[in-house]
């Protein structure tokens, strides 16, 4: 492979990786605080894509405002879901909270997918991306919509990191993630923090859907593949680990791009593209369930 092609692939992987990281970040924040995997995360992502589409098509908003509206819409939806469905998980209202959380978010995914299918049909929608055109750097040519979406994803991730580090709410989220009992003793309201984390996680999924949706297509099932990637990413980086989610996203982006290029039988390599990450997921969970970057905890 020539040098320029190599750089092109690496850059491609970086762009895709930033998408993965953005989608996975919300999942990881939610897991950190609530210790549940939100199996409706892909549908939050999908709803974000639709809100973005509507904001542009029906309200005539500019693309950047569309992304903001999508994120805000998902804060509201995420908050409602947390308050009505997720709360019993940590208030001892259900017999088996783990199982309940898995099944209820999976049920929510069925509901949201088919709701959007009923409302808008299976046809792909193609809202305007935040930036059109191509970017040329020397011999490198990258499609502008992808690059812009990736850049926006990086900015969003940075904003979230700052929020988590600098604001009181962000500190509460991190405190509960690290040690819920201690945080509770120190006066952190766990219920409010859970609401916050779920809203923030949902907003990130929504923003990701709004940014990435136009690059591919907005459809009711657009969330299924990205969310499976997000599962891989969070497991790779360690469930609940913020930095792990970011690193995991970047790693998966590169793995997919290069695995596809390096395997000689191209058509087969492409067909299996979505399976590489899954194989990694299984391997990580079996060998090192705390992820590449998580700390091994004593099992008591």
């Amino acid at each position: 492979m020539s040098g320029i092609a190599l750089v092109e692939q690496a850059l491609n992987g970086l762009v895709i990786g930033s998408f993965y990281a953005l989608t996975a970040l919300g999942l990881s924040i939610i897991f950190g605080v609530l210790k549940i995997v939100n199996f409706a995360h892909g549908e939050f992502y999908m709803i974000g894509g639709y809100i973005y589409y509507l904001a542009l098509a029906a309200l005539g908003l500019p693309p950047v405002a569309g992304v903001v509206v999508a994120a805000l819409g998902l804060v509201v939806l995420g908050g409602l879901v947390e308050w009505s469905l997720i709360r019993p998980v940590y208030t001892d209202k259900v017999d088996r909270p783990d199982e309940y959380a898995i099944m209820i978010t999976f049920g929510l995914a069925i509901l949201l997918q088919n709701l959007m299918l009923s409302l808008y049909g299976p046809w792909p929608l193609r809202p305007a991306p935040i930036f059109r055109g191509r970017v040329e750097i020397g011999e490198l040519i990258i499609s502008g919509d992808r690059l812009a979406a990736a850049a926006a994803a990086v900015v969003l991730i940075a904003v979230v990191l700052v929020i988590l580090r600098a604001t009181w709410a962000g500190k509460a989220v991190r405190a509960v993630s690290q040690n819920r009992k201690a945080a509770e003793v120190l006066g952190v309201n766990v219920g409010r923090t859970a609401l916050l984390a779920f809203g923030l996680g949902a907003a990130l999924a929504g923003a990701a859907g709004a940014l990435i949706g136009p690059v591919f297509n907005v459809t009711p099932i657009m969330g299924i593949i990205p969310v499976v990637k997000a599962y891989v990413v969070v497991v790779l980086g360690g469930l609940g680990s913020i930095w792990g989610a970011l690193a995991g996203g970047l790693i998966l982006g590169q793995v997919e791009v290069f695995a596809t290029v390096l395997i000689p039988d191209t058509s087969r390599a492409l067909a299996y593209k979505d399976a590489y990450g899954l194989a990694v997921l299984v391997l990580v969970l079996l060998v090192r369930p705390q992820g590449l970057f998580g700390e091994r905890r004593r099992l008591a």
Partner: protein
């Protein structure tokens, strides 16, 4: 000795299903019910694992697909008779289930959920990718279950398979093995401290559940005549989950009935299009939240309470 409520409900439903063709139910609805019986097998096998042993799995639809493809390809490639191919399909699905169950022994809750999703998707991707054997997303035509069989005949065969599998599972669950399963669900360490071989039974449950799913998938393939990788998708898994939850996933008979009920409603409500699936999603959520024993479990408890009062 009086029979337990769930058995009486199950027998009543079985009697109804046997009577329906004689009551003049048309081919269209018989076919719908036949597909419903497939989903009932799947839902029952899933609830065995989730409701009794407390092991979550999202691989049930994929395992059904594995059973289906194995069975169809055994007939195509080796020319074996369909009944034998069905057994091969169930055995292969059970063997893979045994392996996955063994690999994922130490994983629980969301970790197990993610692992089974990964296995399910890898399986679906592999079936789609290897199109020289499976014809990929074009789908593979399957030999008929019985040559020249009419719809009522297929209906009765599927019903017989459903009743046989549910009865078998029920009988197993009634022995001490069923008690061990539930002890493991409640507390693995506690069960081990009392001599329950937790590892063994967790693996056995996984294999049993996936073998039944594989059998169901094979049955479906030879009834419908065409299979494609969509039967292994996570959406399909979602419907199985909805069926088991709505019927009552703590009881294999109730979750099986949930499978039939939902499939019939899906056909009956065809005019409202995808709204019916959205509504099923909503009902699933409401049941999980407010009536975790499911429709039939809650009704049975209600009936018992009413009888107790009078």
């Amino acid at each position: 000795m009086t029979l337990p409520t769930d058995v009486r409900v199950g027998l009543a439903a079985a009697a109804l299903f046997v009577a329906l063709p004689f009551a003049g139910l048309g081919d269209y609805w018989l076919y719908t019910l036949t597909i419903g019986f497939y989903y009932a097998i799947l839902a029952a096998s899933w609830s065995l694992l989730v409701g009794y042993v407390g092991r979550i799995s999202f691989a049930q639809a994929a395992m059904s697909g594995l059973g289906a493809y194995t069975s169809v390809m055994t007939v195509l490639g080796l020319g074996w008779p369909v009944p034998l191919a069905l057994v091969v399909g169930a055995a292969i699905a059970g063997a893979l289930g045994l392996f996955i169950g063994w690999l994922s022994l130490r994983l629980h809750g969301p970790y197990l959920g993610l692992t089974t999703i990964a296995f399910a998707e890898i399986l679906r991707i592999a079936v789609t990718a290897e199109h020289q054997w499976t014809r990929g997303s074009l789908g593979l035509s399957a030999a008929p279950l019985i040559d020249g069989a009419t719809r009522p005949v297929l209906y009765f065969v599927a019903l017989a398979v459903l009743i046989a599998t549910v009865a078998l599972l029920w009988a197993i669950l009634r022995t001490r093995i069923g008690l061990f399963f539930q002890a493991i669900r409640e507390d693995e360490e506690g069960a081990a401290s009392l001599g329950v071989q937790v590892t063994l039974w967790k693996v056995v449950a996984f294999a049993l559940s996936t073998a039944v799913a594989g059998l169901g998938g094979g049955l479906y393939a030879h009834v419908v005549g065409l299979i494609s990788p969509t039967m292994m998708s996570l959406q399909e898994m979602g419907y199985v989950l909805a069926m088991a939850v709505i019927g009552g996933f703590h009881n294999i008979i109730y979750s099986a009935l949930g499978g039939v009920l939902l499939q019939v409603l899906l056909e009956y409500l065809r005019e409202i299009g995808e709204w019916r699936l959205a509504i099923f999603g909503l009902i699933t959520i409401l049941i999980l939240r407010f009536a975790p024993n499911g429709l039939f479990g809650t009704l049975a408890a209600l009936g018992a309470a009413l009888r107790g009062r009078s």
